[in-house]
């Protein structure tokens, strides 16, 4: 209004002259930040950056502390999203065209095979890194002081990661897809094992929940076009949406729960300045230490209670780290994808099962358990394992030594001990089952109830529970129990998965190596 004395045309001419700087300025308001204030406001004012804190503790930036697992998982998801979008350009979800579309992606699309490999491997790598991220969280004692909720969100993200991978596995509609779908559908139907046992036992008839789940999943009683449509919907819309929402909450909570945990002692650089954090007391969800919108937005910010001197501006320090991890993840995925092709078998054939009909590798640990009892292996035990994981922060509430790997020497010892004991227990159980068989082999007439109730999987779980309790009793610390439990979980998952993937051949017979498998 101040230049109202100018004519409209003159104003227009002036605006036209400065259009370049005003256009650029509208995007980058503060220009390139040169002061700490500018760096801070850049972070706060940018939509994409403002989820970060303006300042970051230097210990958070130490690569040896988090190992970047969570960030790598997130970037893998980003890569999978983008590559998945590209795959959708050529894919079409029909039982008659899906297989050909995937073949075309492999054969004639420019970089198609690479794109498909990137999608496949980034998705599957997510499973590994999400699990390692979880293990890191437990080992560094990072599930406390308000982070309990976020831990549960994390478990939800783990499940979503599994299901996303699984639904993606179904889409090429090859033999792998088809028979994995059959197996998964029947695992969904496995509660029938239980309902069948109790049916007619006390004069009651239980509804066949398992069967109903299976039919809803497949849109029929056996896999077909309806199933593919449903799985496709899940894979490209519902699950990605869900994972985005939960991931948003996950990140939001990290912010609200005071950033990443970190060792309190500042030993970075030359100075050996160790600043102890103030003593904290209170309930499980500390709600004091709030600023900003005060009581409206509850939570803690990283810079309040502790050493402001040991923080640096997030711009550029944190972002350099994030971009570096992204480039690392991308480079690793592309390099791996260059060498290893995503598998594609024959066109789905409902007459001839793959032998062995294996689920994708990340479920082969479960399939090993499923080979004892479909219900316990497919639903009971994983359900219990997840429940156990969810329970960790609620059963261990020792709010000491947050952010320190293994807490102390004893923790390290317990981790190693659990690793050895767990390995021996799992391998021992497997060796026993492989050589001796189980109830069905000894007493072919045995009632299914006995197998559901007592099978190697259940015994293993029981052993883990008892051993963990014993650790708690011995060390007089629930924290040690948590370390022990997560180690058992990791060991069980890895060894069972290895067994199911490599050591089980046609007819689920034990072989030392796939090269020993008989020719079909």
């Amino acid at each position: 209004m101040d230049n109202s004395n100018k004519t409209g045309l003159a104003q227009f001419a002036d605006n036209l002259k400065s259009v370049k700087s005003s256009f650029v300025g509208s995007f980058s308001r503060g220009g390139w930040p040169t002061s700490d204030k500018g760096r801070t406001s850049t972070v706060v004012n940018n939509f994409f950056l403002h989820l970060h804190t303006a300042k970051t503790h230097i210990n958070t930036l130490k690569p040896s502390y988090t190992l970047g697992m969570g960030l790598i998982s997130f970037f893998l998801l980003v890569i999978a999203f983008i590559s998945g979008g590209f795959l959708m350009v050529y894919y079409s979800p029909s039982t008659t065209t899906a297989f050909n579309a995937v073949k075309d992606i492999n054969f004639v699309v420019f970089g198609g095979q690479l794109m498909r490999n990137i999608h496949k491997w980034s998705g599957e790598a997510m499973i590994i890194f999400v699990i390692l991220h979880m293990v890191r969280i437990v080992y560094t004692n990072s599930y406390k002081q308000g982070r309990e909720f976020n831990w549960v969100i994390g478990i939800v993200l783990l499940i979503l990661t599994f299901v996303l991978n699984l639904t993606g596995y179904m889409l090429p509609w090859d033999q792998l897809s088809y028979w994995a779908l059959v197996i998964v559908a029947n695992i969904a139907a496995a509660p029938k094992e239980l309902t069948d046992i109790f049916n007619g036992m006390f004069g009651i008839t239980l509804p066949d929940i398992g069967g109903a789940t299976k039919e809803v999943l497949l849109g029929g009683t056996e896999p077909g076009q309806e199933s593919l449509t449903r799985v496709y919907l899940l894979h490209i819309l519902l699950l990605p949406l869900a994972i985005c929402v939960f991931l948003g909450v996950h990140f939001f909570r990290i912010r609200k729960d005071g950033g990443l945990t970190r060792p309190a002692n500042v030993s970075a650089g030359s100075g050996e300045s160790i600043i102890s954090p103030p003593e904290k007391k209170g309930g499980i969800f500390p709600t004091h230490k709030t600023y900003g919108l005060m009581e409206l937005s509850k939570g803690r910010t990283p810079a309040v209670d502790t050493d402001i001197e040991n923080t640096v501006t997030s711009w550029p320090n944190l972002f350099i780290a994030e971009i570096a991890v992204f480039m690392f993840t991308l480079a690793a995925v592309v390099a791996y994808s260059y060498f290893f092709d995503a598998p594609l078998k024959e066109y789905a054939n409902p007459m001839i099962p793959e032998n062995p009909a294996k689920a994708p590798w990340y479920f082969l640990g479960l399939q090993e358990l499923v080979s004892y009892s479909a219900f316990m292996g497919g639903q009971g035990l994983p359900g219990l394992a997840l429940a156990g994981l969810i329970a960790i922060p609620f059963l261990d509430r020792e709010n000491r030594d947050i952010g320190i790997w293994f807490t102390n020497k004893q923790g390290k010892a317990i981790a190693i001990e659990s690793f050895i004991v767990g390995s021996v227990a799992v391998i021992g159980t497997l060796a026993f089952v492989v050589t001796q068989g189980w109830f069905r082999e000894w007493w072919p007439e045995i009632h299914q109830l006995w197998i559901v109730a007592i099978n190697p999987g259940n015994l293993l779980l029981g052993f883990v529970m008892v051993y963990t309790l014993w650790v708690i009793k011995r060390t007089n610390s629930t924290r040690m129990g948590a370390i022990s439990l997560i180690t058992f979980f990791l060991v069980c998952y890895v060894i069972l998965t290895y067994t199911g993937t490599v050591l089980r051949g046609p007819n689920w017979v034990f072989y030392w190596s796939p090269s020993d498998w008989p020719i079909h």
């Binding site: 230097i58 590209f86 004639v108 699309v109 420019f110 970089g111 794109m115 970075a268 650089g269 592309v334």
Partner: protein, 157 residues
């Protein structure tokens, strides 16, 4: 940690590392994006051959006009020879229909005369003429990938 390097003048070792790192990172991302864009362009099209057989000369008695509906081609037979005119309007690709003055496009009202020249409406060019050739077995083939100049008529034995 970086206070001292930040304040230095000129290109310090860290600045060089930073420049190199960001430079290559941007290059890497840009080439990934470029590759991905190339990925979108399909290498093969799922379309039938542009060249197709239409039968022998006897199928086209002099004075007749035949429209091949699935190929969108008019085949005219005259004393001077055979010629094939595209039925695809040069404006925005609708299919023209034969009328008494030539061809009329239903979408935006383009009008063409008997040899395909624009006589009305928004069409920028005349309708295309296609090559007709005779195969070894005597049958005629039209190749819609090969246009010929207006007025090219083919006489076959």
């Amino acid at each position: 940690m970086s206070e001292e390097t930040r304040d230095k003048d000129g290109v310090s070792r860290r600045d060089f590392l930073g420049l190199a790192a960001f430079g290559t990172a941007i290059l890497g991302v840009v080439s990934s994006v470029a590759g991905s864009l190339r990925y979108i362009k399909a290498n093969v099209y799922f379309e039938e051959s542009k060249k197709f057989k239409v039968g022998t000369v006897e199928n086209f008695p002099i004075g007749s006009v035949k429209k091949l509906d699935d190929k969108n081609v008019f085949i005219f037979s005259e004393e001077a020879g055979l010629f094939a005119i595209s039925a695809i309007c040069t404006h925005l690709g609708c299919i023209v229909s034969p009328v008494d003055f030539g061809f009329q496009c239903p979408c935006h009202g383009s009008q063409f005369n008997h040899i395909g020249n624009v006589i009305g409406g928004p069409a920028p060019r005349a309708l295309e003429w296609f090559e007709i050739s005779q195969e070894i077995d005597g049958s005629l083939a039209i190749d819609t990938a090969k246009t010929v100049s207006q007025g090219t008529k083919y006489l076959f034995a």
